[in-house]
Structure formats: structure tokens, C-alpha cells
Symmetry: C2
Subunit: 448 residues, 2 copies
């Protein structure tokens, strides 16, 4: 199963690998729907103007142009043309557009999940593809959105990730207000600049971040030291509040952020114990976050990068004076599934959906075999019918090669038997009644 | 709900419309898996060389180019460059590539379903979008593929379509061997040319097709007349065989085609009565079909065009001398769903997955409300918790506006009650036991 994609950065799964991905997608969908999130999909393309609306262009975007242009319409792949079409690079920007366009048809707070492919023309590497699937949940309000949804979103994601066949994980949560208030409180007014530098902490280390803060933002040694001290705080409970207070900085926004983060961590300690940490180094590069920010690591797979990120955005979407604040998180499904497959963290119980192959006694018995298959399918048992009346040994081999556990035989007198080809056990069976064990009825995906 | 897409040809659904689409997709998936088809997805992009491999370029293809090209890699959207990337315009060509690339990992005959978006830069019109979802099933053999799979594929699709909330439909089936053998038998050797002309029958009428046959292919009046007579044959049973024979043409390939089509129709009369007709006017423009060809109309919506097409292709995929013949059909999901929605042929029983809103007594009761919600979710009941302890009337209004049928109340003494806000009925309830009726548990989609 160790194959490389024929086009670098565009992974494709074998059927048995796809079963693992389907299990991940089905599990996420089920959890999201149980929490009342509605499914939507947005088109794969946005206008370049829409994608760059927030000035945010740190993603490599794929532009579109029609290869045969016989209608006189100009082929468009021009970065400078805001009406040119491009593939979306995330699901948040398209969702914001969707909300604004359809505001008159939606009931707010609007809860949605969205599971789709996105594209980025980045240099492919482990954990980073050019085409990949994201699974997002967001809640968006009309005018205002209670902070409680920040807490809820984190809990739903913790529940969703807990249901997946993946190693243990940690949501690392911070709050922009806390960080920005703190920077302001120590006299660093370019808070976005400080965040961008702090965001590099894991990549380049504390010393070089301190240099950046001093050289690029004019921070003093003391300011840089305090900013780094803040970023070093990491607690599994609400004790981060005391640790921040001990740094002796006072600021109104800082207080608001401390209070918000405390609420999230407090709820998580109770409702998702061990899954969440307050991590004051988390910055998230994107401009549009205004409060809660989240990244998520797989324990023991930290170098994979964040498998679920997002946060609060109060100004991503607006329509005239009407604002639509939101909070959301995005799971990197392809990143997760790639890791599950490459390290065989989970496997499917068989390689095809089929539970039963109905063997053919004679070539003329195909229609009768279809009748048997229809009876089994009627009870939810996935069934195939052999195409040719080969020797039974060959038909069993066919089932074995496809990974089908049971073969059904009907003799000339109409007597039915079913064979479990894994054990060799063969028993009389009635097509109107026989059912495999719960374990064999559907493909199961379990952690290795 | 009558909205127009903000980008012409790129439809997007409202959450309650998406529920109808999800029902269609889930129903198709369930039917396909019950018949032992494995799910796969292929990447959205192919190389231009791959897409044009069969010389077939009657689709408008979207090319890709990276908007920011900072790695020195040339921006590619050049039709002449076979390595340029473009969005796939169907799922058959990518599937053929996938089979060839992964032949060593697949068990043949390989049965797969594939439900994905495809893109065509065509002029949008009713029933024709630029981005749309197809649902394909195919069976592909290694070297050979028994004809029986042609019969099976037609029956599976008839079963799948019968399970959808759509009007009655007809699979119109023909056979390329039958048509080509017949043309050859009457002395028209450019059989592909004749097929292309016959393909226009519905658009331009018999007279103009006759002219085309004579002017472009050098047919005599008699040859043109016979070709059109063949194309006029349409029977719900196997009587087409006699009607073709009555035309007095003999040809080996014609005989083979007659025999094949007879098998399909015979099985369909028995196993999918009323759903299939032999229609000898069906040509299918694409070159790669070599036997069975299928189009499907919705009865009463014929002008919508085919909602499910495909057929047998013996030479689409090959690897050196190794050939992978296949047979498959593709359902136009977006075309179907657009029609269902625009004519309100089916509706969802509510607009959100949520069955229950747990109301808040006080703002402090949020965590206790989450405990109740968790109990309900544990039994598969989709549940939301109110974010604010507004007046009960306001919380009920909130549920009503979102389309949630039940509101859960817990008073200060811990007494639970659940209200059906449609009837106003309010009863005592135990969060560990209460369950809504089967009808209210999940969103149901039913024909209007």
C-alpha cells in the first residue's frame, strides 16, 4: 500500500484506504449532525477579488482559465482581475461569502458543517498536499454571537476527534484579546506584528523571535522578554490566569481575553478532560481572528503540524452595516487520513463493502442468484453475484481475492448453504432469514 | 427558495435544499454498496494530456495556473502543454487512469462507485451547470469482462434511481455493435460518422439527419432511409429483434449486438419492469463506447436531457498489451437535484438536523443542559443547547425559527419536560429514556 501519488501533492487512496477515509468522514458528519450542525457545500471556485478581500494572500492560489475559448470570453487567470476565477484555499472565506449572500434565507445563529476539498499550490511535503479535504464547523451570528459558542465549538471538536481512530490529541487554545491586550499593556502597539513573530516560535525558537521583536518592532529587551514569557505559559487548567497576572501587566482587553480563555478551559476540564490546554504561544497567522484561537496536535505526531485549527472572527463577513461574527474550527481530514494510512494506525475489517458472493451453479442460474442476492440486500447485507459458473473452487478464490467473507451456494434441488471462507465452515441457510454477525455485516474500521 | 446562483453555472444549495441532495447521495451510496461497489475518489485535476488522450475534446475544460508563481515554476494553462493541469470534466477518464496506475493493487473485475464534482466551462442553462456532481458506477475487468456486467449495471442503476424521490424514469438502451453492424451491412462504412449524425436526431429531426447522411457521408436515399428506420425502433420488450430482422440486413456484428441488447432487455423486463426500453436511436456522442449505450429520461421531464448515461467501453484503459474493458453509468446528481428543488418534487421534513433544543432556565444551567443534551445524543437524537437564558417564549421562538420540533425544559427542582412546539403538547420526560417518534428522529425526505 506504500504508493506515491502519480501527481505530487494530489493523494489518491486505494479502495481499502478509502474505507478508512469514509469512516473518518462518516464519524465527523454524525457527530456534527448530532450537535445540530447543518451541511452545506459551496462551489469550488471563488472570484479572485473574494479570495483576496481580506488582503490575505499567504496561500498559493490556483487560478482557472477555459482552455478552449470559443465564445469570445477572455481566458481569465489574471491575479489583477478581481472577477477571475480561482479554486478556494479554505472553507472559511467561501462560507463567509455564502452567509452574506444568503443571509435572508438563514436562521441565525447559523450552525453549519462543511466537508470539501480545497486546493493550495504549495510545495508538497508530508502532511501538506495541494488538494486536501477539510471538515469545518462554524456558528455565525447576525450582529452578535454569544461567547458561549466559542466554548461549544471546542467541545464539539473534542468529541468529534475522540470518536476517530487516531492517537490522543490536544487542543491548544489561546485568545487574541489576551495576547493583544498584553502586548498593548507592555507598550508594543503593533500587536499584529508581535503575533506574526510569536507565530514563528516553534519554527525558529525563542532567541530568534526576540531578535525579530527587537529589530522589526523596536521592542526593548524587557518587552521582548515579557512577550516571550507570556508565550511560554501552558497549563491544563485555569492556572494560566494567575501566571499571566504574575507578570504584572494590566489592560482591559487582556482582562477580557483572560476571562474568555478561562471559560473555555474551565468547561473543557470538566467536559473534555485531558483534551485541552491553555497554550499562550498559539498565535495563528491569519488576520481575521479576533478572540479564541485554536491549534491541535496529535500526541506523538507533533511534527505533523496542526490537525485542527480555527477560532473566533468578529469581522470576516459583513453586509453594509450588518456584521456576522463567527467562530469555527477546521479539521485537516487528508492530513489525518494520510497519517493513519502511512503508519497503519487503523485498518478496515475487509477491503470491499460486499459481505456475500452468491456463486453460480450453472450459467443459467444467474437470475435465480439475483433473486437470492435481492433477498439478502433487502436485509442490508451487501451482496454480489458471480458473473460466470466457474468451478466452485474458482468462485471461492474470487471471493477470497476480493476480500468477501461469505460465499452462498444453491444446489440443483434449491438447497442453500453459506460458507465462511475464512474458517471453511459451511452451514444450511435460508435466504429469507440468514444474516451474518454484526461484526461481518458492515466494514468496520478499528485502531490497530 | 427561488434564488439564482451568484456565479452563473455554479449552483449552491440552502441548508434545507442540501438535505434533499444529501438524501439523494446517501440513497445512491447505500444502493451501490449493497451491490458490492467500492468507493473511490480521484483528484480533481488531470494533466491536459490525459484528458485529451482519446482525442475527445468536445467538452470545455478549465485549465489551472498558480496565481503566485514564486518558485520559478512556469504558470501552466497552455492547451498545447500535455503536462498542464486541468479540472476533470467527467469521472470516467480519471477512473480509467486510476485503474491503469493502480492495477497491481486492485482485484478484478473491479467494481467502484465514485461521487464527485466535475467541471465544464460550458454556457450554463437549465440542467447544465459549470460545476456539478456525478455519481458513477463502473465494473472494469483485466483483459476481459463478461457481458453479464452490462446487464447488472443497468439493473443496479434502475434500482438506485427507483429509490430516489424523483418521477418515473426510462433507461433507453441501444448497442453500438448493433448499430455499427447494421450500417456496415447496408454499405455505410464510416459508422462513427453515421452515429454522430443519428445522435442529432432529437435535436434536428429525421429529415435533416437524412440530408446529413447523404451530404456528409455519401449515403443513398435507401441507405439513409434504412439508417433512420433502424433509429425509429423502440420497444419495451425484446420485439425489437424481429423489427430489426424485418429490415433484411445481415451482418455478424449486427447479430452480436442484437443478442447483447436482447439479454439486457430480457433481464430488465423481468427484474425492472417498465423501467427500460430498447431505443435504437440512442447513439452517445463519445467515441469510446463499444457495445451497450444508455441514456435515461425522467418521464414528463424529457427536455431536461439524460439524467443517467454511459455504456460499455472495451478500450478506454490499457497498459502496454494489457486491456481493461469496462462498463459503467453516470448519474447527473446536480441535474436531478436542481429539478427536484426547482419543481418542489420532494421536500425535507425539517430544515435542520436538530430534533431537540434544550432550553436554559438560568445562564448558569448551561453545563447541566449540556449533560442532558449528551444523554439525548447518546441515543442518536440530534440536540442543541440554547446559548442564553432568555424568556422561554423567546427560546421556543428560536427553535421554531430554526425548524427544531422539540424544546426541552428543566425546572429548578430538576423536573424535566419536553414540548412539541408544533402541537403545543408538553409532557414529563426522562433524559435517559425519552425518544421522539421514528418520524421525528431524523430528517426525512419525501416526494411531494
Amino acid at each position: 500500500m506504500a504508493r506515491t501519488a502519480s501527481l505530487s501533492g494530489f493523494p489518491e487512496w486505494l479502495p481499502q484506504e478509502r474505507l478508512v477515509e469514509l469512516h473518518v468522514l462518516d464519524t465527523l458528519r454524525k457527530t456534527f449532525e448530532l450537535h445540530g450542525f447543518s451541511s452545506i457545500e459551496t462551489r469550488a471556485v471563488e472570484t479572485v477579488g473574494q479570495l483576496l478581500r481580506k488582503g490575505e494572500i499567504d496561500k498559493e492560489v490556483y487560478g482557472l482559465s477555459r482552455l478552449q475559448d470559443d465564445e469570445g470570453e477572455a481566458a481569465k487567470s489574471d491575479k489583477a482581475d478581481p472577477n477571475a476565477l480561482a479554486l478556494h484555499f479554505d472553507l472559511t472565506v467561501p462560507f463567509a461569502r455564502y452567509v452574506v449572500e444568503n443571509a435572508g434565507y438563514l436562521a441565525f445563529p447559523f450552525r453549519r458543517y462543511q466537508i470539501q476539498k480545497v486546493w493550495r499550490g504549495e510545495r508538497p511535503q508530508e502532511g501538506r498536499a495541494r488538494e486536501f479535504t477539510q471538515a469545518d464547523i462554524d456558528v455565525v451570528g447576525d450582529g452578535e454571537l454569544p461567547f458561549r459558542y466559542d466554548v461549544e465549538i471546542a467541545l464539539v471538536i473534542a468529541e468529534a476527534l475522540s470518536a476517530l481512530p487516531i492517537p490522543d490529541f490536544r487542543l491548544r487554545i489561546n485568545n487574541r484579546k489576551l495576547a493583544e491586550g498584553f502586548y498593548r499593556g507592555i507598550g508594543l502597539t503593533d500587536t499584529a506584528g508581535v503575533l506574526r513573530s510569536i507565530d514563528k516560535l516553534e519554527k525558529i525558537g525563542a532567541e530568534r523571535v526576540a531578535e525579530l521583536l527587537k529589530s522589526e518592532l523596536g521592542a526593548t529587551d524587557e518587552q521582548a522578554g515579557l512577550a516571550l514569557k507570556l508565550a511560554s505559559i501552558r497549563t491544563e487548567d485555569t492556572s494560566f490566569v494567575q501566571q499571566v497576572r504574575a507578570l504584572g501587566v494590566t489592560d482591559e482587553l487582556l482582562e477580557e481575553g483572560l476571562n474568555e480563555l478561562e471559560q473555555v478551559i474551565q468547561a473543557a476540564v470538566q467536559r473534555a478532560p485531558g483534551k485541552v490546554v491553555a497554550d499562550l504561544s498559539i498565535a495563528r497567522g491569519l488576520d481575521y481572528y479576533t478572540g479564541t484561537v485554536v491549534e491541535t496536535v496529535l500526541v506523538g505526531h507533533e511534527q505533523l503540524g496542526s490537525i485542527c485549527s480555527g477560532g473566533r472572527y468578529d469581522a470576516l463577513a459583513s453586509k453594509g452595516n450588518r456584521k456576522f461574527p463567527g467562530v469555527g474550527l477546521s479539521i485537516g481530514v487528508t492530513r489525518l487520513v494520510s497519517r493513519i494510512l502511512s503508519q497503519e494506525l487503523a485498518t478496515a475489517s475487509r477491503s470491499v463493502p460486499t459481505a456475500v458472493l452468491v456463486a453460480l451453479n450453472t450459467d443459467d442460474s444467474w437470475s435465480a442468484a439475483q433473486d437470492i442476492a435481492a433477498q439478502l440486500r433487502g436485509r442490508g447485507i451487501a451482496t454480489e453475484v458471480a458473473a460466470k459458473a466457474e468451478k466452485f473452487g474458482k468462485q471461492i478464490k474470487f471471493a477470497d481475492r476480493r476480500g468477501i467473507p461469505f460465499v452462498w451456494f444453491t444446489d440443483d434441488d434449491g438447497k442453500h448453504q453459506v460458507k465462511d471462507i475464512r474458517t471453511g465452515e459451511q452451514v444450511d441457510a435460508d435466504p429469507a432469514e440468514w444474516t451474518p454477525s454484526e461484526e461481518d455485516l458492515y466494514v468496520r474500521v478499528t485502531t490497530a
